[in-house]
């Protein structure tokens, strides 16, 4: 007897009772138990899982709708590494092409040219955006890409295990770096911040006094939204044989001076700002680019061009000798996949927006942010903490109570920004924020004061 009654009773299982019978006969077992004869009875799971009973599709929809209704939809002025940019309608539609969605790593190049082809385009676009020579096929997110860059610098150096990190790096990134550094035995040293920017003179003295510095990491725009001037940074690093690593917000590179132009050896960051929905933290996509010289030190997959035996242009995973499944315990990274579908997202985004669109979006974000900043300062309640050039995100001190501000604003459908540990408010504006929405941010202010 089969101890299964309900197969064929479920839409994802095609087995009829006749199928089960014929297949078990072939497999040489009498029932499901026979399939697991090797499992000692003492550890065999016999009961029922304490889970809800299976739901119909309509019930699943209802449950998600109920959960969704418990989330408040807010007009987003928060950033801090995650930005509410515009997503062209084409992208979700193309990402649902199931030949992309339901495939895996392109091991069989002959039937994976779709994936390999767009990764080649992705790599080409990311090198254009960053001004670097080489890009890998993508990484999990910006924070882990930064951690990989840190490890790459240490592996590329000889007996160097220190990495200097700007104090103006997003603490969320720093926390991930600290985790990896602890287990890798890498020593992270903070470069102090002066007037909101990484202090070059202290960096210079750190570089000349500290032994074994493998890399220096900075962020652009930095955590306060300030666009830093990195003149002299690359030279200072290279003089001490340290690699210069820049972590940048991808969308901002449309107009900002690039890591390549600043003389960076490794460029990393998150591609979320290229139209990827915020979705409560992920999935996003990390990017990593480097100079030609470092190609064989770079972690992750790389797609290269080649020819097939019919003399056609073809794309293939290449330089695999660098990767974990070949190097095993000698590996300096355990990355074995890429964030492929999100790399496709970015590729389609950059194809649609093109050379002009990314600049226009960046200009809109810049203008909206500066317009809001001016208006907030005019209220007399908000004060710019650092008088430095910023891009689309800025740090203000609020004269009132931030708890009240947040509760009143969220009640009125506005997420006013991100509260920083120092008690200041970090506000971001993207091309998605209209003038009306920004005006409403300012006009809502008296409501907060009414709460006092």
């Amino acid at each position: 007897m089969l101890n299964v009654q309900s197969s064929m009773d479920f839409k994802y299982f095609p087995h009829t009772q006749d199928d089960l019978k014929a297949m078990m006969e072939k497999a040489g077992v009498k029932d499901f138990d026979g399939l697991y004869a090797q499992i000692p009875e003492s550890i065999r799971f016999r009961g029922d899982y304490k889970l809800p009973s299976g739901m119909s599709e309509m019930e699943v929809r209802d449950l998600f709708a109920k959960l969704g209704s418990q989330n408040k939809q807010l007009t987003c002025f928060a950033g801090y590494g995650v930005y509410d940019h515009y997503t062209p309608s084409v992208i979700p539609s193309l990402l649902q092409r199931s030949e992309f969605l339901t495939s895996y790593t392109p091991y069989q190049a002959e039937i994976s040219q779709g994936t390999l082809h767009y990764i080649f385009e992705y790599q080409s676009m990311m090198t254009e955006l960053t001004g670097m020579d080489i890009s890998n096929a993508s990484m999990y997110d910006g924070t882990t890409a930064a951690a990989e860059a840190m490890m790459m610098a240490v592996a590329a150096g000889k007996k160097q295990n220190k990495v200097l990190v700007s104090g103006a790096l997003n603490p969320k990134t720093r926390e991930v770096l600290d985790t990896y550094a602890l287990h890798q035995g890498i020593e992270l040293v903070t470069i102090p911040v002066k007037d909101g920017v990484t202090d070059l003179s202290t960096l210079n003295s750190q570089l000349s006094t500290l032994e074994g510095v493998a890399g220096v990491m900075v962020q652009q725009p930095n955590v306060y939204g300030i666009v830093e001037d990195f003149t002299g940074f690359a030279e200072a690093c290279h003089e001490q044989k340290a690699l210069f690593i820049m972590d940048s917000v991808a969308a901002d590179l449309a107009v900002l001076k690039t890591p390549g132009e600043w003389g960076a050896d490794i460029a990393v960051g998150d591609g979320q700002s290229l139209g990827i929905p915020m979705l409560f933290g992920g999935p996003y996509v990390g990017y990593m680019c480097c100079t030609e010289k470092l190609i064989r030190k770079m972690p992750g997959r790389i797609v290269g061009m080649t020819k097939d035996n019919r003399d056609q242009r073809a794309f293939v995973l290449t330089l695999q000798a660098r990767e974990q499944h070949i190097r095993r315990q000698k590996a300096t990274s355990n990355i074995c996949s890429n964030q492929s579908l999100m790399a496709l997202f970015v590729t389609v985004y950059l194809s649609l927006m093109g050379k002009q669109g990314i600049k226009e979006a960046a200009q809109l974000s810049y203008a909206g942010a500066h317009y809001l900043c001016d208006k907030l300062q005019k209220t007399g309640k908000f004060h710019l903490v650092y008088d430095k050039p910023f891009f689309n995100e800025f740090l203000v001190r609020y004269d009132g109570n931030l708890d009240n501000l947040f509760s009143c604003y969220t009640m009125n459908g506005i997420l006013p920004g991100v509260r920083m540990n120092d008690g200041n408010l970090l506000i971001a504006v993207t091309e998605k924020r209209t003038k009306e929405e920004i005006d409403r941010f300012v006009e809502a202010l008296p409501l907060v004061n009414g709460l006092h």
């Binding site: 929809r61 989330n71 392109p106 080489i134 074995c336």
Partner: protein, 469 residues
Amino acid sequence: MNNRLYGNLIFELSKEGRKGYSLPKNNFGNYEIPASMQRTEEAKLPECDELTVVRHYTNLSNNNFGVDTGFYPLGSCTMKYNPKINEEMAAQPQFQNLHPQQPADTVKGALALVKLLEQSLCELTGLAHFTFKPYAGAHGELTGLMTIDNYHRSRGDMQRKKVIVPDSAHGTNPASAAVCGLEIIEVKSLADGTVDFDDLQRLVSLEGANIAAMMMTNPNTLGLFETRIPEIAKLIHDCGGLMYYDGANLNPMLGACRPGDMGFDVMHINLHKTFSTPHGGGGPGSGPVGVREGLQEFFPVVSPYYGNYGVMMRAYAYILSLGREHVKEVGPLAVLNANYIKESLKDVYELPIDTICCHEFVFDGLKDKSTGVTTMDVAKRLLDYGYHAPTIYFPLLFHESLMVEPTENESKETLDGFIAVMRQIAEEAKTNPDLVKSAPHTTPIGRVDDVLAAKHPVTTWKVLKNEIL
């Protein structure tokens, strides 16, 4: 140069002045980005209209093969069906527009889902807590090992830096250990592919005080259940180490056995394998890590927020759809499918370990080696017949490994079709070996020159363009 229009790169379809976007007018007044901030060289991105972009990527998708296209028996990857309802749920704007820094009282539904998914995974694995921060399976492994390292450090057990790994393990196991600053010791496998218990005892008596953990998949990479797992766990626990379960092969255990009950303390789950979320051409995945009570305080911070939240939503939709009745049928049906294929082909393909398997099994190439047809050739010929190839040349235990994992979603007809083609290829290997050796013949491209790609790396349009001109 490829003369088919749709073989072009998007850069080759670009024409100065075309646009594929629309943005609102700038009505903020005069805010110019200072020249001193700006890049001097512009990013040479393509300029295309919307339809050109849509056609280009639609045609690229036609050169791809997914689970929705056909049978995808890629061993160790659990290429199961990715239900459409999961996609619909993850696309809801009530979740899509949530900033991860929103105050908790504005994201109650999103946080509730994290809790519900955690409870479900705890129940299915027999563990007590999960973190969802890891973005992928390998990231989960690393997170799990860091958790173990943190635990030993907290006890002042600083010398525990060695991790025992079977010689048949996934390549990521040793790599993850290395990134975690741990050292690998390999334990031998017996002829039947399971852990050599005597060798393990020897390692433990030699290194007991230095052992941080033992890392295993169960069933192992050959699809075989490690029957001595309770003894193995006891041996490791007695010497002060922890047991790590690589969840890559969790699928056949649904309805049969829980890692927590086997004696494991820490594990990761690949939501993109066992819980039906799409592989996306290589990602995004999700690799939540579960632990026994008391170990949760040692979870490291490996990402800023809740990991790949969108992937978690899909996994939860899947668990709800199956429910307690059907989740326990997943394992048996996956195991039945694998054994059915194995038994139907073992007379023509070499089966080194002839026993009942779990969700997957490994052939060591064709039985008849005289034809010179290799596993690579068989894999490529399968593409001609409209199947994705199994995993090849892994595990490293055999020279001609061909690893087949069918999953529970495949019908008897699909399996029979695959079996017939595998037999046909075995026949072709005898009658027309060149046909097999020169395969594939019907795919968009033929076999590629890997050596050329590695010797002379061309990885961007910038470089390629210069070579064409």
